[in-house]
């Protein structure tokens, strides 16, 4: 399974990632960073498409894709 990592201190809570995600993984977390922005969180079936990261204006998202056939 793929996953994303949100760099919370870079996130400005614009929600462009929420809109971009095809599987509805992202949502507001209710937590605020030091800049005062509500940061996003991920929960669900991430497919590793990186659409969220492509749209993120603050390069606040890292995307990890699971490697098929690799030893766990």
């Amino acid at each position: 399974m793929s996953r994303i990592q949100i760099l919370e201190e870079r996130c400005k809570g614009c929600r462009l990632c929420v809109e971009a995600c095809p599987t509805g993984v992202l949502r507001p977390s209710g937590r605020f960073n030091h800049q005062g922005y509500e940061v996003m969180e991920a929960d669900g079936q991430c497919v590793g498409c990186a659409s969220c990261a492509v749209m993120c204006p603050d390069t606040a998202i890292r995307v990890f894709k699971s490697v098929k056939g690799a030893a766990a």
């Binding site: 996953r3 990592q5 749209m55 890292r62 766990a72």
Partner: protein, 263 residues
């Protein structure tokens, strides 16, 4: 699958999207949802992929992007408002081995700096100009831009831009594409995943043209300004798709590399 705080992958997986080292870690001063951050990333990825950051010189402009140099790990010089393409001309002529780019908004590139931009292009200066068109003066608080849409309300066109008094939006990429010195001219948008991916290719191509010594590389990026459009970032993206793109058609308007069969 969850937003892990540790960066070490817990199992066999590959980091497929990360910040590249041409952009530094400093959070930007841009408003939430502003597309400058996306444009910065696209430029930084082009420089990173080309492996030229260590010989790149950024010429910064005036506007919201005045502090672009705070985020790029490259040598930089500040230009007066509108003069980035003239300063870049001086830089590139003085340092022919450098990769030189300007990063300018619509006021800087298409109003006060029209002469410098068009003539640098016409001379075929081997520079890349990244043109952020968000139809409004952001830094100064939302005044009318040369690219403001007809009917668009700004702080200096309060009843909406009226052609009889203010003229219409300038389509600069089409003008650039007429000039012999321009090796590449394209207009892209940053409102959707598909469009951002296209924009990435265009930005890269605008640098390829310079590095190949073919001439002036130009890329216009239709961008949002949620703050001065008085919209949330998601609505601002819809505004680009529904209102801007019909006025500013997307596409590659000139590509000398392709004409030369070097696609």
């Amino acid at each position: 699958m969850t937003s892990a705080k540790k960066s070490v992958p817990p199992r066999a997986e590959k980091l497929v999207f990360d910040v590249n080292p041409v952009l530094n870690e400093r959070p930007t001063h841009y408003c939430p949802g502003c597309h400058h951050g996306i444009a910065h990333r696209l430029v930084s990825e082009a420089l990173h992929e080309l492996g030229v950051a260590d010989r790149t010189i950024l010429v910064a402009s005036v506007g919201c992007a005045a502090f672009t140099y705070d985020y790029f790990n490259v040598d930089s010089v500040e230009a007066p408002h509108g003069r980035a393409c003239a300063v870049a001309t001086g830089v590139r002529r003085a340092r022919p081995g450098a990769v030189v780019f300007t990063y300018q908004g619509d006021g800087d590139m298409a109003a006060i700096g029209t002469a410098e931009s068009l003539h640098a292009a016409n001379r075929g200066e081997k520079i890349t100009a990244v043109f952020i068109n968000n139809t409004v003066y952001g830094m100064t608080g939302g005044q009318m831009a040369p690219t403001t849409l007809l009917g668009q309300k700004t702080t200096t066109s309060r009843r909406g831009r009226d052609f009889d008094n203010e003229g219409g939006p300038i389509r600069l990429t089409e003008i650039m594409a007429q000039l012999q010195g321009v090796a590449y001219a394209a207009r892209c948008a940053l409102d959707s995943v598909k469009h951002v991916k296209e924009a990435k290719k265009a930005v890269r191509r605008a640098f390829d043209a310079q590095i190949a010594g073919l001439g002036f590389g130009f890329v216009e990026l239709l961008s949002s300004c949620p703050t001065n459009w008085h919209m949330d970032p998601v609505a601002a993206n819809r505004h680009i798709a529904e209102e801007m793109i019909p006025v500013f058609p997307l596409g590659v308007f000139r590509d000398v590399m392709k004409e030369k069969g070097n696609a």
